[in-house]
């Protein structure tokens, strides 16, 4: 082990956390919008619009079928337009957010669809608008499932940051490739892997903990 290890690792972790945090936030915002739109416009949804639904679905599937590495390249001009550069963690956030949003959209969709139709009808029967039903019935009722789904997505974003790291985004993935692989620094490779595992593990624990707490409050309060 050499003495630059800690500094390199710390800098890379900081970049990864920065990318994961903001990408997750933006992807969640976009994903919520997509997921809600999918559920609302679906047949039997609170705001039926079959054509729009098909179009949305097509766009989501298209983005999801692109390998992430290619999506990053395709989004380079857009990233430059938004943040003024195509290199570094900030530029990566643009691609990461857009790349993860369709995945989150599907996760939000499947969570919201788990809400029993009777609950929606009960809300309709008291005169609730589609908007009210989405925010006050669908989302709160499916919250534990949403939290679990978002946890999966955030972990997927951690993986994606490593891919983005391969083409200049920085972060732990980049460190492992540049030092661990290209410079044969096995100590760095190993340390990076340990840090990534710890990161993913703590995200999973946090997500599980939140979902469990919500569930416990609703279903087995003491």
């Amino acid at each position: 082990m050499r003495d630059d290890l800690f500094d390199l690792l710390w800098e890379a972790l900081r970049q990864t956390l920065y990318m994961v945090f903001w990408s997750s936030l933006f992807a969640l915002a976009l994903g919520l919008a997509l997921g809600i739109a999918l559920v609302a416009t679906d047949k039997g949804g609170v705001k039926e619009a079959p054509k729009l639904n098909k179009l949305l679905s097509l766009v989501i599937n298209s983005v999801r079928s692109l390998p992430f590495l290619i999506l990053i390249v395709l989004l380079l001009p857009f990233a430059r337009w938004v943040v003024g550069t195509t290199l570094g963690p900030t530029a990566a956030i643009v691609s990461l957010s857009i790349g993860a949003a369709p995945f989150l959209g599907r996760i939000v969709e499947s969570s919201l669809k788990e809400v029993a139709s009777g609950k929606i009808e009960a809300a309709q029967s008291v005169g609730a608008s589609p908007w009210t039903i989405v925010w006050r019935v669908l989302i709160p009722e499916s919250l534990p499932a949403l939290v679990r789904g978002v946890t999966i997505a955030v972990i997927a974003i951690v993986e994606l940051t490593a891919v983005a790291g391969a083409i200049g985004a920085g972060g732990l993935g980049s460190l492992a490739i540049r030092f661990g692989y290209q410079r044969f620094r096995e100590d760095i490779m190993l340390a990076t892997v340990v840090v990534i595992i710890a990161l993913v593990q703590s995200i999973q624990w946090t997500g599980d903990g939140i979902a469990k707490a919500i569930h416990r409050r609703r279903f087995n309060p003491e």
Binding site: A116, G118, K119, E121, A122, A123, Q124, S125, V126, G127, A128, S129, T132, R136, V137, P140, E141, L143, R217, R218, F219, N220, P221
Partner: protein
């Protein structure tokens, strides 16, 4: 008063359209407790769900309290629904919300101020005898208590009509009885017109004054409940009464045998 004229509803299925309701004509007086009875698949649920347009009829008209429900736009319908409460077989309470929040929900939808909501929810929970449960979540309640919350929610906006979609079918006989008593009390105290559908003759006999018998999507008999028991005219009501009589005879025999031992 509720007036239903020439109501039709068909469902598209894989094997062609199924006529769920055929030329329904029905008048329900204000303040009545009106029962609609029929066997499974007769179209009861479709009919009651047409009244607040959870189900869209194909043709015909429904007038509730002078308002043509079938002509309303989405926005007007939402306003009208505040005055048409509904309770369900599966209660359909929101698990994420406490009893208080479940009952407050229709009032928030109606844009009532917070202070009014607090007062109104307490008042209505008092009425359904759940004042001590306002902080509980639905998962902590029994079936009967859940339905009481359902009733409180349906009554929160002081509706003129209460629709009951098999509200007691998931409850045991004793709980059913207490819920029916509650509904009867509400009808008496608040003058709310109650329309209920059921496949239980007991329910009809217990609280309804007038009724209609539904058979394959058509109304085959209507009138005061007593008439159905004394002079059943339609096939469905004869079968219902026969089931009830056979059950009673069976019970007498059993009790007789018991006395002999």
């Amino acid at each position: 008063m509720i007036v239903i004229r020439d109501l039709n509803k068909t469902y598209p299925t894989a094997r062609g359209a199924v006529q769920a309701l055929e030329n329904i004509n029905l008048t329900i007086q204000k303040g009545d407790i009106f029962g609609i009875i029929g066997f499974s698949g007769a179209g009861k649920s479709t009919l009651i769900r047409c009244l607040n347009r959870l189900e869209e009829p194909d043709s015909g008209s429904i007038v509730i309290g002078g308002q043509v429900v079938t002509d309303l736009t989405d926005k007007e319908l939402r306003l009208a629904r505040r005055k048409i409460g509904m309770i369900f077989q599966q209660f359909n309470l929101l698990d994420a919300k406490t009893v208080f929040e479940n009952v407050a929900f229709p009032l928030q939808v109606a844009g009532r101020p917070k202070s009014y909501i607090r007062e109104r929810v307490r008042e209505i929970l008092e009425l359904v005898q759940l004042a001590d449960k306002e902080k509980a979540y639905p998962s902590q309640l029994s079936g009967g208590q859940k339905q009481r919350v359902g009733i409180a929610r349906a009554l929160a906006n002081e509706p003129e009509v209460l629709l009951s979609d098999e509200a007691t079918s998931a409850l045991d006989p004793q709980t059913t009885y207490s819920i029916l008593e509650l509904l009867e009390g509400i009808n008496r105290q608040l003058g709310v017109t109650i329309v209920l559908i059921t496949h239980e003759l007991d329910v009809l006999q217990h609280i309804c004054r007038n009724m209609a018998v539904l058979e394959h999507g058509r109304i085959v008999e209507t009138g005061p409940v007593d008439k159905l028991f004394v002079h059943p005219e339609s096939d469905t009501s004869r079968r219902f009464v026969r089931i009830l009589e056979r059950y009673r005879l069976g019970r007498f025999e059993l009790e007789g045998a018991g006395a002999g031992i």
